[in-house]
């Protein structure tokens, strides 16, 4: 259940910023952490800290159990068929780079195509740009509809027999658009391409079922889903991962090391070179427990509600333009906007003076900014700890900002 009580689990929210109670509307950048996650990290370091998969001592076993236990939680959370398909990495960026550098280098040749969209985060653009340059491949962009959605006709027009990889964001970090990745995966597969899903903004907000989506790879980050920074996940289908070479070599990931040649561990460890992100994984496991107890369906419903209320109330402010789908049911709890001629940085500064945290800038999506024909925007993003009173504070703050700049202009 989403109720008032939820906010009380997030100690950081209980403070004043610039003399006003904090309203945190930047969860799309990173979410805040509940005590359950903070305590899991603290307890791990206080009671169980040790290196994993080595040694015979008790602490080593305990740390290993916790680390691998977190992997099981992730497996269930995204409904992967086995824990072998769950690789712990630093975050979404690292996960997509791994796919590009390992699967991409082995499977993309000169003249082949990689298909992405105009609404990608830089982390789902640049790895493919680099791969395309290295392999002499062609990077293609799927056009967006006027309301910032993707139509399957455009997808079908972009994907051809030369397409080897299709990579798409599930939920746009700017427009909030929820993309039909399941249908896109089907089209990709019909043409023999693999489907990569950037799930950074989806995993915190929607129930993820990688088998139902039938995607080949799915990447997400812990810190956007009430977990710690520095931990993320790459899901990959076992058959694909088995054929892939690691991109990081060293401790932990080896089976046998000779003088001139070495062999790798089994999945998933062959991709986890070096001492793994043990505490991060434990924290992510606690985050998954927290979200699962509330229920992802509940969270998704709450966010659609937040988006609907925010859009309705913000539309009442003259001169405020909202980007992305007009229909709140087509978007997650992300509302990106501009206010008349007031630059988003200036809007964000005025809001900050009122204790309201929003993001301003290009949101790591410069090609999308170009498509929107703006240099920057402001973004309010909502999560399970936000409620209608936060939206009221936002609209009040925006009205003040408008007034303030009308006076000074």
């Amino acid at each position: 259940m989403i109720n008032k009580e939820i906010k009380s689990y997030f100690p950081i929210l209980d403070q004043e910023i610039n003399g006003h109670p904090l309203v945190y509307l930047d969860s799309a950048a990173t979410s805040q952490k509940p005590v359950q996650v903070i305590e899991a990290l603290e307890n791990y370091y206080k009671l169980d800290n040790s290196n994993v998969h080595r040694g015979v001592h008790t602490l080593g076993n305990r740390a290993t159990e916790k680390y691998e236990g977190a992997r099981e939680k992730v497996q269930k959370f995204i409904n992967a068929s086995s824990t072998e398909e769950v690789i712990f990495l630093r975050g979404t960026t690292t996960a997509i780079n791994l796919v590009a550098q390992s699967y991409g280098r082995a499977n993309v040749d000169e003249g082949d195509e990689i298909v992405i969209t105009y609404m990608e985060h830089h982390s789902n653009i640049i790895p493919w740009q680099q791969l395309a340059k290295e392999r002499g491949a062609i990077l293609k962009y799927i056009e967006l509809e006027e309301d910032g959605t993707i139509s399957l006709e455009q997808v079908k027009a972009a994907i051809t027999e030369r397409t080897k990889i299709v990579s798409m964001v599930y939920v746009s970090n700017v427009l909030g658009t929820m993309n039909p990745v399941k249908e896109v995966a089907r089209i990709a597969h019909e043409h023999g391409a693999v489907m990569v899903v950037d799930g950074a903004q989806a995993a915190p907000h929607l129930k993820i079922d990688v088998q139902q989506l039938d995607c080949d790879f799915f990447a997400f980050s812990g810190h956007k889903m009430v977990g710690p920074t520095g931990i993320g996940v790459l899901y990959g289908k076992k058959a694909l991962l088995n054929d892939m070479e690691p991109v990081e070599f060293g401790g932990e990931m080896i089976d046998f090391v000779g003088l001139y040649d070495s062999t790798w561990k089994e999945l998933p460890w062959k991709f986890e070179g070096g001492t793994p992100i043990i505490a991060g994984a434990v924290g992510l496991g606690a985050a998954i427990d927290f979200l699962s107890e509330i229920g992802l369906d509940e969270i998704e419903k709450h966010e659609h509600e937040m988006a609907a209320i925010a859009m309705e109330k913000m539309n009442g402010i003259e001169g405020l333009q909202i980007y992305g789908p007009k229909d709140p049911s087509k978007r997650a709890g992300i509302v990106t906007f501009n206010l008349n001629d007031v630059h988003p940085h200036d809007v964000a500064t005025v809001l900050d003076m009122s204790g309201i945290a929003v993001r301003a800038g290009h949101h790591c999506a410069q090609p999308l900014m170009k498509w929107l024909e703006v240099s920057a925007t402001a973004r309010a993003s909502f999560y399970l700890y936000n409620d209608e009173s936060d939206i009221d504070r936002l609209t009040e703050g925006l009205r003040s900002a408008k007034e303030y700049f009308n006076d000074v202009f």
Partner: protein, 146 residues
Amino acid sequence: MSFKNLDQLYRSVIMDHYKTPRNKGTIENDSINIEMNNPTCGDRIHLTLQVVDGIVKDAKFDGEGCSISMASASMMTQAVKGKDVDTALGLSKTFSDMMLGKDYDDSLDLGDIEALQGVSQFPARIKCATLAWKAMEKGVHEQQKS
């Protein structure tokens, strides 16, 4: 709601430079061209300088960004025009010190620039204010090298 703190940031002279920027545009002939971005927020400046015999004969800017970055660019071009290169760099150092809240050399005539002093109270906005100055420094150093 009153915003007393904000008035320290958005002084009227700053808003005046933002609304009616001085030296907006590009110098066509024989100029030093500098493009600089603030990659975290998307502010962008294109600065052109004409330096003859160690004197900044002309300075023009183009670009997009918030009120602070564009007003600062306007003020910077106004301040360095007609100055010798060393004075221009000295002004830049003074400005940087002012932004960082350090004691700064008050022997130089800062003119309108002094209005930006309040930015130092807003750490997230210092980069907006220094973008144009960094572009100027880069341009001057490149010219000195060649």
